[in-house]
Amino acid sequence: MNFDGSDYVVRFENVGLRYGLGPEVLQDVSFALAPASYHFLIGPSGAGKSSLLRLMYLAMKPSRGLISLFGRDMARTAREDLPGLRRRIGVVFQDYRLLNHLSAFDNVALPLRVAGGRERDIQKHVEELLSWVGLGDHMNASLPTLSGGQQQRVSIARAVITKPQLLLADEPTGNVDDRIALRLMHLFEELNKLGTTIVIATHNESLVKRLGHPRLRLDGGLLLGDPQSRRGRKGKGDEMLDGSRHMEAG
């Protein structure tokens, strides 16, 4: 695959982030993700993984630096255009963020409805996906009646239902056992094969090792090179950005 700079799905350049007046929790972060790439985002607790994802799913603005998504400079994108961009991104939040008053079905259907999908198509898609993640029996259960792991799977289903171009998942397998975790990872692989760019923040080391995708390693707000990944699936579309602190993500 060949593409110039604007073809990256995500591109960060010297991005810094601070909350309020606190210290920078992300410092000089630079990387670029090619279309249909698949990365793990790893690092110790408090390293800034969730913060980095928050920037990517447009929940926050960086304190400094440049972020571009789908080839568009976010600093120069009007607020009205953001909902459209957000619909191309699927997010699994670390704390799920499901709507407690809705059923599992309605939670998963929500992104389709917000985007104005036809109710008939929605029905079929949502039911299929919920069955796939093992919640066929809990389709109409209200959210608070689901177990922790069941809720986590609903949140994953909601993130992938629109077949987004970019999927961001924050610790998506913390409350499920390894068997289900693997099954969910397969779901992500399928999406990835269809062209979705995927970033998964996780602590599950065995999973990271087993799947062997390239890694973005954060520590103390700094993005560090991951020597292992360099030996990994090199050339899947990722490129070194110029500049000394820029690193190869994958």
Binding site: R86, V91, L102, L110, P111, V114, A115
Partner: protein, 297 residues
Amino acid sequence: MISRRTDLPLDGDVLAGFLPWLIAFMVFLAVVAAAGMFILHDATANWSAGLTHTLTVQVPPTKGEKALPAAEDPHVLDALKVLRTTGGIIRADLVPQTEVLELLEPWLGRDGAAGDLPLPYLIDAEADPDAKFDIATLRSRLTKAHPGISVDNHRDWLDRLVGLIDAVEWIARGVLLLIGLATVGTVIFTTRTGLSVHRDTIEVLHLIGAQDDYVAKQFAWRALTLGLRGGTIGLALAAPTVLGIGYLASGIETGLLPDASLGVAQWIALAFIPILAAAIATLTARITVTKTLAGML
């Protein structure tokens, strides 16, 4: 403007039980205050129509002489002529002496000295309520005809009463304004509470790619239904109250509160109050939500 979608758990939250009653209370007060204003306004209008434009002209009896029949007294004839040639006076009639005697009964006793007493002559005149009528000119013209003539336009006590009623009316208007402000404030606060209670939900919708409008419409719809519900309750409670006050008032003095019941137009105006309240609620909710959302990236 509004949307019946229910991604937000607005119907189930506690505010949904609270807001209608609050609006009901506001509407109740507003309707009662407005009805009171209507009644008072009608009363003063009636008084103005019935009394302000009535003049009583009094011609003193001719001293020392045996009184002539009223209709022949030259001073009375003069006075009638003056009145009938004054622009703005549409009627001037002599009050029969029997009526004058009746009026004096409290002072002269029932068997008051009928023919024996030199009674004053009274003329009842009516001014055109639309014409601008100058009482001072009339008075000077009449005293020119006969110095003892006095003109009473019943204004003194009426002015005082109308002043009092006006004050009460102003208070009622102030209360109405206050209620309006309180309603707007209430809706703003409850909407804000709703926003903060549902903040997480709103943020999720936002991050999923919902337009601001998508969220604002749902709040507006809720405010509309809750507002209408509350308004209807308030009106339903206020109607019997207004009728009851009217009943009480009419049981008192007909002269003091000439017509304590409301006309159809006035009832219709009152019925618009809950609709107005619901409209205020809807608009306030929409604006509040839109403003809050604009604060999110």
